[in-house]
Amino acid sequence: MSIFIDGKTQVVVQGATGHQGQFHIGEMLRFGTKVVAGVTPGKHREAVHGVPIFNTMGDAVTTTHANTSLVLVPARFAKDAVFEALDAGIKTIVVITENIPFHDAMEFIHYGKYNNAVIIGPNCPGIASPGKNVKVGILPSGIFIKGHVGVASRSGTLTYEIVNSLSEQKIGQSTCVGLGGDPIIGTTFIDALEAFETDKETKAIVLVGEIGGTAEEDAAEYITQHINKPVFAFIAGRTAPPGKRMGHAGAIIARGKGTAESKIKAFEKAGVKLARFPTEIADLVEKYS
């Protein structure tokens, strides 16, 4: 098993013919992902790395039976793209696009819920299951090895760093999911924890959090009540000054809430082992699992 994606995953890429689309279709195919279609309005009858391009999601899904979509379109077209995917019957949608207005994200996340779909992101690097040779997103392929650690993260590069250090110590991963750096995201730590807990291939869970919001505090409470597998965490932004936005829209501390201290405290209380440096996660996992 794996979470959210598996051997049956068939991907349609929305925004397939741009520079990013072409590059990542190639990367996903090399990873072993079944990329079956691309959608770019006005570009039908073209192909990218042999993958047929369609005008609409309806056409793409009817013809290729794609069941998962990867959204790479620019921010102002993202809401339309996710709505189109949902109406075409897609049940797993990974939204890479950054700078999507929060109200747009809120709408498509709720429409996704209404359609019983899983939406990962926005502003995320995607998801990879090395054991299943499937990757839906822009995560660098070379960092993964097959194994039993599940990783869920709010950060991009930091996750690559942590996964890479796990792999260097021969600790493989079951699934690695980038949840996204925005305040409004479709799949939360709690959703990922729930899925990892039931996934037979996952034996330990790594969470990569950062300041802002209460996602880590919520996760800590959920861990106490529902998670039996060992959980490890790293939190970025312990020394970020209050009120300053640190790149991500999500990484902002306001009114004393969402600070690193409050997250660390909550995780410690829930029995989560915390790393001080990103690469220390691998040492902790090795020691305790």
Partner: protein, 367 residues
């Protein structure tokens, strides 16, 4: 983007929420046409104005000049006061709190109300703040309003007026892509009117492109931060003396944290993001040089970004212009060996782990 109170009130008026009669003033000449008593309110994009002396009642004309110059001298939360909103004095019978914000956990707009509005809303007990979540797909409906208003124990005609204000505020929240709209206090005046005495509005920066009528009045940015913004580089100046360059906000924050662990202090936060363009790296490194840190710490993880791309950009700047301070680098990931060679040739210090790099940087900066 945080709007000033007076901008927020202009939007309130547009959607039909009553605000006090007012005039915006900047200098002594503007005082002539005022009617007294009135209230002078400093326009700054932060809270705590009342406590800082930024809100003052002016009873008569004779006092106005003095109060004006007092307030214009203030710096509130680091912001100088440039404009003052002068409002008619409103007789207050009741002060309420009303806001709509984004609830990140529920991923829904959250309507909050309290019968205890005013300066100390943050210390009002949780059970006196009433909440109603609004599914964005259906928007505000009568049942939401029926669900929250009776808890405030108001008169029937007050309830009716405030119900309309809630709907109008929600419309504003949605139409203008707000992260927050807040009225504190929303007052019931001695003559029974419902008036917004204050206005807070924060508009989602990512949605500003569809609101050309929203004018940016202030930027809380340093000169270098402004330059960075124009170049599309995430660059923040901090208190310390070590310049941090990394790729990705999370990794950059983790690098700052590592410095703090070794008693170093970050002076610049520079997030290269996912760039694969040597020219952009060059621009970023030039900006970092201008900030004159005592040490520069470059921490890179190459995934989609190739390490050697960044190394080329950095070494190009150094070979053309030289460098005033030590640069410690820690490189990992895609093409790291090529990158390390390039950086060594440019005379930079390479460290194997973040811990070593952070310690070395902190030691050098502390000397």
């Amino acid at each position: 983007m945080k709007l000033f109170e007076y901008q927020g009130k202009q939007f309130f008026e547009k959607v039909g929420i009553s605000v006090p009669k007012s005039k915006l003033i900047e200098k002594e000449n503007d005082l002539s046409s005022l009617t007294y008593p009135c209230v002078f309110k400093a326009q700054v994009p932060v809270g705590g104005r009342g406590k800082a002396g930024g809100i003052q009642l002016v009873e008569a004309k004779e006092k106005a000049k003095e109060v004006l110059s007092q307030i214009l001298k203030l710096k509130i939360g680091g912001f100088p006061v440039r404009k003052i909103l002068v409002e008619e004095k409103i007789g207050v019978r009741k002060e309420l709190y009303l806001s709509i914000t984004l609830d990140r956990s529920q991923r829904m707009p959250l309507l909050m109300m309290s019968g205890k509005g005013g300066m100390d809303i943050e210390s009002v007990a949780d059970d006196l703040i009433f909440k109603e979540w609004i599914n964005p797909l259906i928007g505000i409906q009568s049942f939401h309003i029926r669900g929250i208003l009776p808890k405030l124990k108001l008169e029937t005609d007050e309830e009716k007026k405030i119900g309309q204000i809630i709907s109008k505020l929600y419309k504003l929240f949605r139409d203008y892509d707000c992260e927050l709209v807040e009225i504190n206090p929303l007052v019931i005046s001695t003559n029974g009117q419902v008036i917004a005495l204050d206005a807070k509005m924060i508009i989602n920066d990512d949605a500003l492109y569809r609101h050309p009528d929203v004018i940016a009045e202030h930027e809380d940015l340093t000169v270098l931060e402004q330059e960075a913004k124009e170049k599309g580089i995430a660059f923040i100046q901090l208190e310390g003396n070590i310049g941090v360059i990394a790729n990705g906000a999370g990794l950059t924050m983790a690098t700052l944290d590592a410095l703090t662990h070794y008693k170093g202090k970050g002076g610049v936060f520079l997030d290269l993001g996912g760039t694969d363009d040597p020219e952009k790296v060059k621009q970023a490194f030039e900006l970092m040089k201008k900030a004159k840190p005592k040490v520069i710490l470059l921490n890179l993880f190459g995934g989609i970004t190739k390490c050697d791309t960044v190394a080329k950009g950095v070494s190009a700047v150094i070979s053309q212009e030289g460098i005033h301070c030590p640069v410690i680098t820690r490189i990992k990931g895609c093409n790291e060996e090529i990158a390390k060679d390039i950086l060594k040739d440019a005379g930079l210090i390479t460290a194997e782990t973040l811990q070593i790099a952070a310690k070395r940087s902190s030691d050098l900066a502390g000397r």
